[in-house]
Each structure stands twice: as structure tokens, then as C-alpha cells.
């Protein structure tokens, strides 16, 4: 049997209205971007990214809805096996924020009930066009007991941190399930000292 090159595999989904920047969240903006016409025509189905958390090598398999959301056809098959969901809205578009509640219902209906969720207010580099305050994002997340972050795929703010935190949350949950409370508690306590300071975007 081939040697396993990783410790854990997490399946993550990106969900939210069209145009909120889900696809861009999976794309590292830099001076070197090279999306070719051939690739952009076909479109990306999913990506595998490797992160290291607490000495564990974790493979993230990240799926984009690829426009299915336009037709409200996101169903059980898409959610199957998902351990984490990034629920994305656009801070410059009120409707995408209002629809978060609708998406949460969709998740409740179709996804595994212990799926780890995080709400992302994307496009926080576009402060001049902002219509959804950070406070409102925080409030709705608190109300539903979900993590929250504002991100900018374009300015590369909080993207990696968001994926790491979601992965850590899944890791914590797995640790808890293993009936190892000591381990879980230590892990949680370690997090603040390990996390990089939040970048002062969108405040």
C-alpha cells in the first residue's frame, strides 16, 4: 500500500449568492496570476490545498458551487461528506447578506448537522461601496453561533486565516469526538498565541 502523505482530509464547501467572490476566494491574487482563457472557460471544479495545523498535515478539498446557486439546485449531493462550509456574502451588496439566512436554512436542510460553518463578508477592500457594516455581520454570526470574518480575496486579507480557522474548528470537533477532553482543551487554549494578529481591514 502506498504511504499516506497526510494525516487528515477535510472536505470544505463555498456557498453563497452568485457574484460574492466565492471563486476568487479560491484564487490567490498576485502579480503572477495566469488564469488562461482555456482554464477559465472550463472552470475549476475543486481544489486540493495542504495546510499544517498543530503538527498535522491536513489536506483540504475545497469545492465551489460553480454557478449552481443561480438555479437553486444546491442539494444533498453537493453537501454530502462536507465537514466545513464557508458561507460568503458581499459587503457591497445587501441582498447577498439578506440571503445568508436562506443559505443557513439550506445548509440545515441538506448538510450533516455537525458541519462546521463560517460566515465571510467578502470584498472588504471596497470600503467606499460598503452597505453591510461589520457589526451586522458579527451580529448575525453571533445569533447563529457561527464564526465570522471579513475578507478580501482581491487584497488577500484573511483568506488563509479563514481556511486555517475553519480547519482548526473541524480538528477541535474531531478531537472532542475522540473523547479526549484534555487534548481538546489544550488545543483551544493554544490557538490565540498561534494565530497571527488580525489584519486591520474593514474595521
Amino acid at each position: 500500500m502506498a504511504k499516506k502523505t497526510y494525516d487528515l482530509l477535510f472536505k470544505l464547501l463555498l456557498i453563497g449568492d452568485s457574484g460574492v467572490g466565492k471563486t476568487c476566494i479560491l484564487y490567490r491574487f498576485s502579480d503572477n496570476h495566469f488564469t488562461t482563457t482555456f482554464i477559465s472557460t472550463i472552470g475549476i471544479d475543486f481544489k486540493i490545498k495542504t495546510v499544517e495545523l498543530r503538527g498535522k498535515k491536513i489536506k483540504l478539498q475545497i469545492w465551489d458551487t460553480a454557478g449552481q446557486e443561480r438555479f437553486h439546485t444546491i442539494t444533498t449531493s453537493y453537501y454530502r461528506g462536507a465537514m466545513g462550509i464557508m458561507l460568503v456574502y458581499d459587503i457591497t451588496n445587501e441582498k447577498t447578506f439578506d440571503d445568508i439566512v436562506k443559505w443557513l436554512r439550506n445548509i440545515d436542510e441538506h448538510a450533516n448537522e455537525d458541519v462546521e460553518k463560517m460566515i465571510l463578508g467578502n470584498k472588504c477592500d471596497m470600503e467606499e461601496k460598503r452597505v453591510v457594516s461589520k457589526e451586522r455581520g458579527e451580529a448575525i454570526s453571533r445569533e447563529h453561533g457561527i464564526r465570522f470574518m471579513e475578507t478580501s480575496a482581491k487584497a488577500n486579507v484573511n483568506i488563509e486565516r479563514a481556511f486555517s480557522e475553519l480547519a482548526e474548528a473541524i480538528l477541535d470537533k474531531a478531537a472532542g469526538r475522540d473523547a479526549d477532553p484534555d487534548h481538546a482543551r489544550i488545543a483551544v487554549e493554544r490557538r490565540p498565541s498561534r494565530a497571527p494578529p488580525a489584519r486591520a481591514c474593514c474595521s
Partner: protein, 128 residues
């Protein structure tokens, strides 16, 4: 069939520098953004004639036309989770094309839906 001699020679020279014990001697990265695609010694070098669409299709092509080139040196990866970072496109015929996970440059190779194996073209990536 006439072979492009210069290219063949270059590839031959390159192979011995990059392959050891039949596997990739070096880390494999994206040519453009240097995102890590494969760790050392995780993929098997194979020679096979296989066409891949060009990364840059150009603007002079006819609508719907896809320019391809024949490549004969690939790294074979039999389990997609061996990749450090990689993107999969939607399905075209029986393949998904592989791209850099970060900058989406590609195709750097293809994934065969029948065998579930992946192939990365040596000429489309950087050894480091």
C-alpha cells in the same frame, strides 16, 4: 513524423537532472507563482504520448478551436491526495484538467476519470 530535435535533446538532458529512482527528485512547483504542487519523490516518471491543450491559446484561433501540443514526459500520481496543492477543472470528455491551485495557470496535466490517476507534464511545471 518529424521530431523536433532540439526539444528532444533538451528534454533528455532535463530528465536525468530531475528524475531519480524513477521518481521526481525535486519539489514540483507552478512555473508562474511557485505554489508547491508535489513533494519530492511522490510521483513516478512516465513516458507516454499525450496531447494537452496549450496554456496560452492565442487570439488568432477560430472560435471553439482548442490548440494542443503533443507531450511525452509526465509524472504519474495515482491518488489525488498526494498533491500538495492542485486545482481540478470541470470534466471535458473523460478528463479533468489540472491547474495550479493558487494562480490557476494550466493545464499542467490531466486527471483520467476512468483510472482516477493524474498526470503532470514535465514541461508545464518548475522543478526546484
Amino acid at each position: 513524423m518529424s521530431e523536433p530535435e532540439v526539444n528532444t535533446n533538451e528534454e533528455k538532458k532535463g530528465t536525468s537532472d530531475f528524475v531519480e529512482d524513477g521518481k521526481n527528485k525535486m519539489v514540483i512547483k507552478c512555473k508562474y507563482c511557485l505554489s508547491k504542487i508535489l513533494e519530492k519523490k511522490t510521483a513516478v516518471y512516465v513516458e507516454q504520448e499525450k496531447e494537452l491543450p496549450l496554456m496560452f491559446q492565442g487570439i488568432d484561433r477560430k472560435q471553439g478551436e482548442i490548440k494542443k501540443e503533443m507531450l511525452n514526459e509526465y509524472y504519474h500520481v495515482d491518488n489525488m491526495y498526494i498533491f500538495e496543492n492542485i486545482g481540478f477543472t470541470h470534466q471535458v470528455d473523460n478528463y479533468k484538467y489540472l491547474t495550479c491551485a493558487d494562480c490557476e495557470a494550466g493545464p499542467v496535466g490531466y486527471y483520467d476519470l476512468d483510472s482516477k490517476h493524474s498526470y503532470i507534464a514535465l514541461s508545464r511545471i518548475e522543478h526546484s
